[in-house]
């Protein structure tokens, strides 16, 4: 626990310019930043947890509506976006790796790739939202849900059709909150790329890149759950 005790003196005397005042050693500083980031991520878990909880409740209450709703969204784009995010996670991990080995050009490159993939994700999401908008599947005044996606099937009963509004509310709330996190991520990425290109992340001081990596992977993980929950698991009317 107090591994830094021994190095207190050393730390106090020749302080690294990167070492903040309240810390004794760079190692302590780095450890602290990591812990802080992880604690922040669990607050994010709880934040999305509220939505997941609502999802769980309503899926059990209105399973048929969830079937109808999730059949109306496109698995293709969903899968594509999942793949895009997974790729961006790889590039992010590689970016952290490049920072660790001190390869500045690679770092900038991988960060930019991550940014690009993030933007692709958002663009696809935008397209999906646009489709929903034209289909009047956005909850609110213009909402109406009539025919199922797949032709040749029985139409959705009127009560189920009106309950799909709950499914779509959750769909938009969940993917919207996720997209918001992506947008914030993209903003931070821009800043990181700029800083990285100026060489602000030497090998012993890239905690910021690392922590951002954690954030980005976390957002990826959220999507890894949103994808099956919203797109995949409610397609078959059989299960309840």
């Amino acid at each position: 626990m107090d591994s830094h005790a021994a190095t207190v003196e050393a730390g106090l005397h020749h302080r690294d310019p990167e070492l903040h005042n309240q810390f004794d050693t760079l190692e302590q500083q780095k450890d602290t930043a990591h812990l802080g980031m992880w604690v922040f991520l669990i607050t994010e878990i709880m934040f999305f947890g509220g939505l997941f909880g609502a999802y769980l409740v309503y899926r059990n209450l209105y399973y048929p509506a969830f079937v109808a709703g999730s059949n109306s969204i496109s698995i293709f784009w969903g899968t594509l976006n999942t793949a895009v995010l997974i790729c961006s996670s790889l590039t992010m991990a590689m970016a952290v790796h490049s920072a660790a080995i001190g390869a500045r050009k690679l770092l900038v490159g991988f960060l930019s790739l991550t940014l690009l993939l993030g933007l692709i994700f958002l663009a696809v999401k935008g397209k999906e939202y646009y489709d929903k908008w034209t289909e009047h599947h956005v909850p609110g005044a213009n909402f109406h849900f009539d025919d199922p996606e797949r032709p040749g099937e029985a139409p959705v009963p009127a009560d189920v059709a009106s309950q799909t509004s709950i499914y779509f509310s959750l769909y938009f709330a969940m993917t919207g909150m996720h997209a918001l996190h992506m947008i914030i991520g993209v903003g931070i990425l821009l800043a990181l790329i700029w800083k990285a290109s100026r060489g602000s992340f030497p090998p012993h001081h890239y905690t910021m890149v690392e922590n951002f990596g954690l954030y980005w992977h976390f957002v990826d993980i959220i999507w890894i759950f949103l994808f099956p929950l919203l797109y995949l698991i409610s397609r078959t009317p059989a299960m309840h």
Binding site: Q28, T32, T43, F47, F48, P139, S165, S169, L170
Partner: protein, 547 residues
């Protein structure tokens, strides 16, 4: 390092303190010093408290008579809503953590600052931005949802500024999250050499438990309020029964935060009391680890009982049973604490300084407040008293009689550390007494009213309830005196108070070993801890100078 400095005959103010490290506006508003941020918080929440108190006074005045004479009912509804929101989210939740905690926690563990000073400053700004949102809703006409924002009333039936108020609370919630995050990481990573977990002062333990709750519960409130805002804005159906939503789900999500939040509102108080009682009994705390673990137990179990606010709300009978059982279990750690504090006084050498008076008041009032929680947790009784003044009395006993009193205890206790000057003892003792008496006159009658069936949030009431209401209002005016007095003598002491010296109470704890007010980075050299907390034995060997 282990001995406090000798007390010289004539004390002098230390030369380099955090207070004179800079004077400009910038030096305050851009400070990263946890002590200055604590002061920023202190000033802001005092303002909010006065505002909330003003609302309370207006509520009590209206309730003097059964008839609606001062306000229209919608005004009255706005009053208690603004009272509740302000007091809970803008006063009591940040009260001890963000002011006293911010100020002393790093010092207690021997750190130069919190782990993330910038985040700390940001959290104050976030808090103030949240306050701006919520207060903008107040100014532009008020909100009348009740502090609980129950749907579908809040989402579909009111035309006040619910969204602004809710978003403000959500934003302020993030301030609370960041404070908690900072404390957790600081406690884990920044302890001075030799400061093991079981040498931590109990205040740190309870702040740690609070921080866990803040970090884990507040995000759920945030998303819930976002959903409320979305539902208002876009008419989506998550909580709206007309669109298939379930309004009771809102209550689940709200209380998932707000029950743990009541422990956010009491645990810091427990921490303060655990510091004050040993100090003024000149004695180590009785059962250190029992008190420490019970804090953590309250923090954790606090997450398991939220639906006891919903017994009459149409939840399933069986889950009501489970939540009731768990609510009784959560009462036990509090009981452990009460008994340990009491036992600490046994064979002590008791000094009646103001913090101690407040602490004693705390024990008594909290015991009553907590035990009346048992009535509410008891299914059979709650079905009668829920949402009556019995509940109002219960939570004022724990929140005002408990936490507010503990906050005052802590404020007086650390006042010399924060300002370098003593508060004047006689008026302070007097105001503690007035507060205690006024408090009981205000809120005890409300238990009786509640059992008789007087509903809360009622603007008018049947005439047979009047006598007790008059009593309550009378008590509130006494209480107001007791609570306003400190504002005057504390401000007075800033200039004229006696110079305190490093450790006026000869208390243990690292915060007392540095100067008062402390220097910029708390300690001139990193302290090394060699003893357990509350080692009053060695403290007492020094000369007795305490007042």
């Amino acid at each position: 390092m282990s001995t406090a400095t000798q007390v010289p005959a004539a004390l002098e103010m230390p030369r380099d303190t955090y207070l004179n490290a800079g004077y400009g506006v910038k030096s305050w508003f851009l400070t990263k010093d946890h002590k200055r941020i604590a002061i920023l918080y202190l000033v802001s929440i005092t303002m909010f408290f006065l505002f909330g108190g003003l609302m309370a006074v207006l509520i009590r005045l209206e309730l003097l008579t059964p008839a609606p004479d001062l306000f229209q009912s919608d005004t009255y509804n706005k009053l208690f809503t603004m009272h509740g929101i302000t007091m809970v989210f803008f006063f009591l939740v940040p009260s001890i953590p963000a002011t006293l905690g911010n100020f002393v926690l790093p010092m207690m563990i021997g750190a130069r600052d919190l782990a993330f000073p910038k985040v700390n400053l940001a959290s104050w700004y976030i808090f103030m931005i949240g306050a701006c949102f919520t207060f903008s809703a107040y100014i532009s006409g008020g909100v009348d949802t009740g502090w609980t924002f129950y749907t579908p009333l809040s989402t579909s039936y009111l035309n006040t500024h619910v969204v602004a108020a809710a978003l403000g609370i959500m934003i302020a919630g993030f301030a609370s999250i960041f404070t908690g995050l900072n404390f957790i990481v600081t406690t884990h990573r920044m302890r001075a050499p030799g400061m093991t977990w079981f040498r931590l002062p109990l205040f740190v333990w309870s702040m740690y438990a609070v921080s866990l709750v803040q970090v884990l519960a507040t995000p759920v409130l945030a998303i819930t309020l976002i959903l409320v805002a979305l539902e208002r804005g876009f008419h989506i159906g998550i909580f709206n029964p007309q669109l298939g939503g379930d309004p009771v789900l809102f209550q689940h999500m709200f209380w998932f935060y707000s029950h743990p939040a009541v422990y956010i509102m009491i645990l810091p108080g427990f921490g303060v009391i655990s510091e004050v009682i040993p100090c003024f009994s000149r004695k180590r705390i009785f059962g250190y680890s029992a008190v420490a673990f019970s804090s953590v137990a309250i923090g954790v179990f606090g997450f398991l009982v939220w639906a006891h606010h919903m017994f009459a709300a149409g939840i399933s009978t069986y889950s009501a049973l489970v939540f009731s059982l768990l609510s009784f279990i959560i009462a036990i750690p509090s009981a452990i604490k009460v008994f340990n504090w009491t036992a600490t006084m046994y064979k002590g050498s008791i000094h009646f300084n103001t913090p101690m008076l407040y602490a004693l008041a705390f024990i008594g009032l909290f015991t009553i407040g907590g035990l009346t929680g048992l009535f509410l947790a008891c299914l059979g009784i709650d079905m009668h008293v829920t949402a009556t003044y019995f509940v109002v009395a219960h939570f004022h006993y724990v929140m005002v009689g408990g936490m507010l009193v503990a906050y005052l205890a802590g404020l007086h206790f650390w006042w010399p550390k924060m300002t370098g000057r003593m508060y004047p003892e006689p008026p302070a003792q007097l105001s503690a007494l007035i507060t205690f008496i006024g408090f009981n006159i205000t809120f005890f009658p409300q238990f009786v009213l509640g059992y008789m069936g007087m509903p809360r949030r009622y603007h008018t009431y049947p005439p047979e309830f009047q006598v007790l209401n008059v009593l309550s209002t009378a008590g509130a005016s006494v209480l107001a005196v007791g609570l306003l007095l400190p504002m005057f003598y504390l401000l007075w002491s800033l200039k004229y108070g006696e110079i305190a010296g490093n450790n006026p109470y000869r208390a243990t704890g690292l915060e007392w070993q540095t100067e008062s007010p402390p220097p910029m980075h708390n300690f001139h050299e990193t302290p090394i801890v060699t003893q357990e907390a509350y080692d009053y034995e060695s403290m007492n060997e020094e000369e007795v100078v305490i007042g």
